[in-house]
Symmetry: C2
Subunit: 222 residues, 2 copies
DNA sequence: CAGAAAAGTTGACGTTGTGTCACGAGTTGA
DNA sequence: TCAACTCGTGACACAACGTCAACTTTTCTG
């Protein structure tokens, strides 16, 4: 037994960390991890709550102590994802001194995130009762709000031309997600090239785009 | 599955149009219509096959004479949609003499289609198990292939700069769908403005976008 | 035009998945 | 050490699924 683990004046930042609290956190994480995996494998629609449970050592009833439905785990995964990528995106935007930096930073960061944890993105992206869910969770909403604010700030500061933030966001998000999906679908992990293309579109339109992507590159990204 | 009736001598071009054949077509249409409605209302994930049936005068078993699952009706709706919009898009592309015409034609046509039959788009878009249009139903696949061909042809003819067709498609599709969704979400039916923005992006990037400020709708979903 | 064959409809039924709950094992704190 | 409490457990009641044998309607045949 961990007789050691008494709740003596614990470390400052640490949690209460009773044994109880500890397994609770663990279980939640276990379920989330299993769900991510199963969703990525079977697709959201095809997986049952029991599939998720079966991928853990837990009993069926336990699931419902942590999430009240399949949809809720899904949202949790979503939320966690947003939580992870938000600061990265925000930092990137803060660093940006020009529109180009702003935009390319966003794309690169996003693509890195997607390719860096493919299963995670597959889990939330390949399936879903779609946008409704994507937009609902607090972290996700906060992330979009943040982007919008920064966009408007950049516009005010003259870094960005005075475009409509709504349309702008739709375009950024649309391109980002569609390209990400396409990359995963084709097992294309070349995030630099993808970001280069996307950025070029926003910087100067079609005429500005690099020429055909040479798959086995010799020239490298323009 | 289409066991053509082994009639000794059916009319040549016309439909067989026996009473039987007729109600068969009717029933299929009834179910499709009901499904479109219910999907649009409840969302794909939340609707049950019984919900669809209940919205028709038919019995539960009958559903399965026409579609083998909820997913299959969904695909059928998808397919039908693609069937309807494909020729319109193709025609638009054929008419185009410049890149700008090509692009703005696509956006306008698509937005018209979406706003013109909102329920239909809601049914297939707001829900789904594979994100976006990517149900690989024949008509949908054909539609994308067509677009790609036309794109490549335009590139060969020098109307389009020699961009990578893959990326190009991802960008077009991404922007089109995301903007469409956003419009429906905000009850914004101004397809001209939307098309203008999207086209401007593709023609000259952010700096080229109209400076119009629009509705000060609050950020956030719904 | 009757009667048989074919095609289609129907709803009850076996099956699978969902979410709850009473119980008991494990943990905490005195 | 023991009472109080928390959480894990799996059986259960309920909901939706998809099938199928019986039945109805249409079509075919003589």
């Amino acid at each position: 037994m961990e007789t050691e683990t008494q709740k003596t004046e614990a470390r400052p930042g640490a949690k209460p960390a009773g044994k109880r609290e500890q397994t609770k956190v663990q279980n939640r994480q276990t379920i989330l991890e299993a769900a991510r995996q199963v969703f990525a494998d079977l697709g959201y629609g095809a997986t049952t709550v029991r599939d998720i449970i079966r991928a853990t050592p837990l009993a069926s009833g336990t699931f419902y102590n942590y999430f009240k439905s399949k949809e809720e785990v899904f949202q949790a995964i979503h939320d966690e994802s947003a939580l992870r990528i938000r600061p990265r995106l925000k930092e990137e935007r803060a660093k940006a001194r020009t529109i180009e930096e702003f935009i390319s930073g966003m794309f690169l960061t996003f693509f890195e995130f997607v390719v860096g944890d493919e299963d995670n993105f597959r889990a939330i992206q390949r399936n879903t009762d779609t946008l409704r869910v994507r937009m609902d969770t607090p972290e996700v909403v906060a992330g979009f709000d943040e982007l919008r604010e920064d966009l408007e700030k950049a516009i005010d500061q003259g870094v960005f031309p005075p475009v409509d933030a709504d349309y702008m966001m739709a375009m950024l998000v649309g391109v980002a997600f569609e390209m990400a999906e396409r990359m995963l679908r084709r097992d294309d992990h070349d995030i630099e090239t993808a970001a280069t293309f996307a950025t070029a579109l926003f910087m100067g339109g079609v005429r500005n785009l690099p020429h055909r992507k040479v798959t086995a590159v010799n020239g490298g990204p323009a």
